[in-house]
């Protein structure tokens, strides 16, 4: 018994080890010790990029977040893409920009000889099966993760008449005609969205791509979401959940400029200071969204801070329903004049930030160059308040905590600066802080605050993606429908969106921007801030993109 007591654990351990050992075979390829290089001919090395979070899944159609898109962008192509470093469109899997005579029927010429990474041919039929797949979503997907389709197209196959998308026809092997039910400025700009990338029809079918199911607090996704098959410069190799890394390998059959790197690894490092230390130690070669206060220090250490052109807007939302004084244009103008935004830009925002004159950045068609910023003028603010009979008014002003956004690196500091300005103009401020996801976002939608700060990063280059998102509808966060002009503004926005002629449409948006800023002023457009990414000294070829659409096929590391 005594012997047994001592020997039993040892024997058990030995048994377990033997059992495991028997089924534990190394899966490495023979003859590649170290295994850093996959044994390919010319070695372009590996670039490891520090990601702040895990990609949600690898089917971009069901995603809206940057962590997912950064990874899927390298594996998929759309019909169109963004010119590197800009918000402008260029053809990708299409050979030319699509043409249309009436704005509703669009013909795309497709690139020949392109193959998906599973060997399937990319052709007109593949394009149509992708669009049909996106169009035909079940109820759970419609209300949940098929967000970008729902946002841009408005409806799905079961309400086909309400949808912007109508049909897709494969005219011949390399010609596709896509028909729309109406004209929209979002088309074809939206085709550069990663969500609408082309996936292998075979993989979509075999992976039961559309079998999304709502369950509990989230959604369950089918096999396709873990098995991405695209035409991009990289192919999926593995997602090592236990180690928090995603590994992509070069696609040697890529139709465009072949990747220089052998492998591209995304290492998930949620803590920002750790990302910075990893970069210093050389275990990662870059990461996204370095804190603006670190930019200089990072550059002093020899790194390259790649600043993206700002494609965002920070604004103050105002709710005239919650605080009736805000219904008066004079009061809203007074609030605007009270703000010293020049100082805000210089003290609280990264280098390259700018005071906004309207609710969109200047790269968007329809931006009105003639608009001037509301000047910082405390006296004018006071006299406007007096005229409106709102002297000494109280403003319930909320800002978010536990969050940092590209357009708003430090919400608390920004909010405090704004509050100081308001108080200098004689406005009493009731300041509330709420966690971003924990009272703030739901508070805005529930109309709980008089004033709040939030912003928007453009999805694609269309005026409607900015002012349309903000001010359309009966039920928007600005509560425009309590104003006499709320419906007019909505109707004008809808009308502008459906003008087929580009010059005419641009003119309509320019006029709307002026009206919004001068006559309506539903909220206060504050600033634009450029986000950045940082890469190590020996990384070359990454072009910062205003839509964070950086491509890694042009990247190289260590001069290789």
């Amino acid at each position: 018994m005594k012997f047994f007591r001592k020997a039993a654990p040892v024997a058990m351990l030995a048994t377990v080890a033997l059992t495991l050992g028997a089924c534990a075979q190394s899966e490495r390829d023979a003859g590649t010790p170290g295994a850093t290089n996959g044994g390919g001919a010319a070695s372009g090395g590996t670039l490891t990029f520090g990601a702040a979070g895990a990609p949600k899944l690898f089917d971009p159609f069901y995603a809206t977040d940057g962590e997912t898109f950064r990874v899927t962008r390298q594996m998929f192509d759309g019909l169109l893409q963004l010119k590197p470093g800009t918000a402008d469109l260029e053809p990708a899997l299409a050979t030319d920009m699509p043409t249309s005579s009436d704005g509703t029927t669009w013909e795309f010429k497709l690139r020949e000889g392109v193959k998906f990474s599973d060997g399937e041919a990319f052709n007109a039929a593949a394009v149509c099966s992708n669009f049909e797949r996106m169009f035909d979503q079940n109820a759970d997907a419609q209300k949940g993760p098929a967000d970008y389709w729902s946002y841009t197209m408005g409806a799905f196959k079961d309400k086909a008449a309400d949808s912007l998308y109508k049909s897709c026809e494969a005219k011949d092997e390399t010609t596709v005609v896509i028909a729309l039910n109406r004209v929209s400025s979002a088309w074809p700009a939206m085709l550069a969205l990663p969500s609408f990338s082309m996936q292998s029809p075979k993989a979509l079918t075999e992976g039961k791509a559309n079998d999304v199911k709502a369950q509990g607090e989230g959604f369950v996704y089918p096999a396709n979401s873990q098995n991405p098959v695209g035409t991009g410069p990289f192919k999926f190799e593995k997602y090592d959940q236990a180690n928090g890394t995603v590994t992509l390998a070069r696609n040697d059959d890529y139709w465009g400029a072949k990747a220089k790197l052998d492998k591209l690894v995304f290492k998930i490092v949620p803590d920002e200071s750790t990302r910075r230390q990893e970069l210093k130690a050389g275990s990662i070669q870059g990461y996204d969204l370095p804190n603006p206060v670190d930019w200089k220090g990072l550059e002093d250490e020899g790194n390259q801070v790649l600043v993206r052109p700002a494609f965002n807007i920070l604004y103050m939302g105002l709710n005239p329903e919650k605080n009736p004084k805000l219904k008066d244009l004079k009061v809203r103008q007074a609030l605007y004049h009270a703000l010293n935004r020049e100082q805000l830009v210089q003290t609280q925002l990264p280098e390259g930030a700018a005071v906004a004159t309207q609710f969109m950045p200047d790269t968007v068609a329809g931006y009105n160059k003639d608009l001037q910023p509301y000047a910082y003028d405390v006296e004018k603010a006071k006299s406007l308040l007096k005229e409106a009979g709102a002297e000494g008014m109280t403003l319930n002003f909320a800002y978010p905590t536990e969050v940092s956004r590209p357009y708003m690196p430090n919400p608390q500091k920004i909010a405090e600066a704004l509050r100081t300005d308001f108080e200098a103009a004689g406005i009493k401020v009731n300041f509330t802080a709420k966690p971003w996801n924990g009272g703030y976002l739901d508070g805005i939608d529930a109309g709980s605050f008089d004033a709040w700060i939030i912003g928007w990063t453009g999805d694609y280059n269309a005026a409607d993606n900015f002012i349309g998102t903000f001010f359309k509808g009966e039920n928007n966060d600005f509560h425009t429908y309590v104003q006499d002009w709320g419906k007019t503004l909505n109707d004008d926005l809808v009308a502008a969106d459906s003008i087929p002629d580009e010059a005419e449409r641009t003119a309509a948006y320019e006029k709307l921007n002026q009206q919004i800023m001068e006559e309506y002023l539903p909220g206060l457009a504050l600033t634009h801030s450029p986000p950045a990414l940082v890469v190590g000294p020996d990384v070359e070829g990454i072009v910062a993109s205003p839509m964070t659409a950086e491509e890694f096929n042009t990247a190289s590391v260590g001069g290789k």
Binding site: A17, L20, E27, A242, D271, L441, A446
Partner: protein, 336 residues
């Protein structure tokens, strides 16, 4: 003995069920959640309603809880919506549990292998410089927050000196085969020695930081306990009998002195889990602790629920193991 174990396991089941209800209600009472997490800036009152409808969050609480219990009963804890979106929350636990076990085991090993001998020697050479120095050292171990210690270790040994990796469990370019999920063990089993060594290197700093908590306590308890025991009659008797000092040390002093130490090690498991949240965060170590921290941040309630219930279960199991170990060391308990 068996009855005792069964009773404790039933208790554990009860604890987990009650905890699940409390957690469920608590999370429902908190503002924010899945909808805000999924939509962010894209949230509008309409989108919010649609999503709530799709997820059944617009139904009465008791219906939601009943649905939840029904799912859990079939082994389905609901998909994670932040830490590992789309995967079952229990899978998050499974994929990360080995990491934390690996870390905690090494930390406890370090604490025990250094703490017990040091405690013993400090007690036997009371008031010597070794004693004074180690008492002081253990004080520092207790007093310095793990978070800070972890950060300093990382800063000096990883970032400045570059001796050890900054974060993670394994070099992502290491082509390692996964068998058990314990990276060091996997490397040994598959004879991928470089992978095992690399995983071990990743463990050293976090384990040292995490070990600081149990080390200090184990050292001090051992020291105090040995000091008590050497004064006991049976030690004097053993000496008088002329037993060799080796037998006296092993059978009479250490064995008796270790009783409270074993209890302490058990109790330290809870502290270890709390410490793991901080240590794993600092080292971006993909274990339970980091998952907990992320889940709280992104309001991943299904994952939080599983992790907290699992932590409770682990705590109960470890205490059970402590009781069993106790019985092995102390024959008086066994006979009951």
């Amino acid at each position: 003995m068996l009855r005792f174990i069964v009773r404790r396991l039933i208790q554990m089941a009860g604890v987990v069920v009650v905890l699940s209800l409390l957690l469920f209600l608590w999370f429902k009472a908190l503002p924010g959640g899945t909808v805000s997490a999924m939509l962010g800036e894209r949230a509008t009152p309409e989108r919010r309603r649609e999503l709530e409808q799709a997820l059944g969050l617009d139904q009465p609480l008791w219906v939601q809880y009943w649905n939840y219990i029904k799912r859990v009963a079939t082994g389905n804890f609901g998909p994670s919506n932040g830490v590992l979106p789309g995967r079952d929350a229990f899978e998050v636990f499974l994929s990360r549990f080995p990491a934390t076990i690996e870390l905690a085991t090494l930390a406890i090993l370090i604490a025990v292998l250094i703490g017990i001998p040091l405690g013993y020697f400090a007690a036997r050479r009371r008031d010597s410089w070794i004693d004074n120095l180690s008492v002081m050292g253990s004080l520092v171990g207790v007093a310095v927050p793990v978070f800070f210690l972890a950060f300093m270790l990382k800063h000096w040994f990883a970032v400045e000196l570059n001796w050890l990796p900054v974060s993670g469990r394994q070099d992502p370019t290491m082509d390692a085969t996964r068998v058990t999920g314990f990276f060091v063990l996997d490397g040994i089993l598959t004879q991928e020695w470089d992978a095992a060594w690399d995983a071990l290197k990743h463990l050293i700093l976090p384990a040292l930081a995490l070990a600081s908590i149990p080390f200090a306590v184990i050292f001090r308890i051992t020291r105090a306990s040995v000091l008590d025991v050497v004064e006991e009659d049976y030690v004097r008797t053993a000496n008088a009998k002329g037993l060799t000092s080796r037998i006296i040390r092993g059978r009479h002093i250490l064995r008796n002195a270790l009783l409270p130490v074993v209890t302490t090690i058990g109790l330290q498991t809870g502290a270890l889990l709390a410490g793991a949240v901080l240590t794993e965060r600092v080292f971006s170590y993909t274990g339970i602790g980091q998952a907990l921290a992320i889940a709280i941040e992104v309001k991943d309630y299904p994952v939080l629920q599983v992790l907290i219930m699992a932590a409770a279960a682990v705590y109960v199991v470890v205490n059970l193991l402590v009781d069993i170990t106790y019985a092995i060391i102390d024959p008086r308990i066994r006979t009951r």
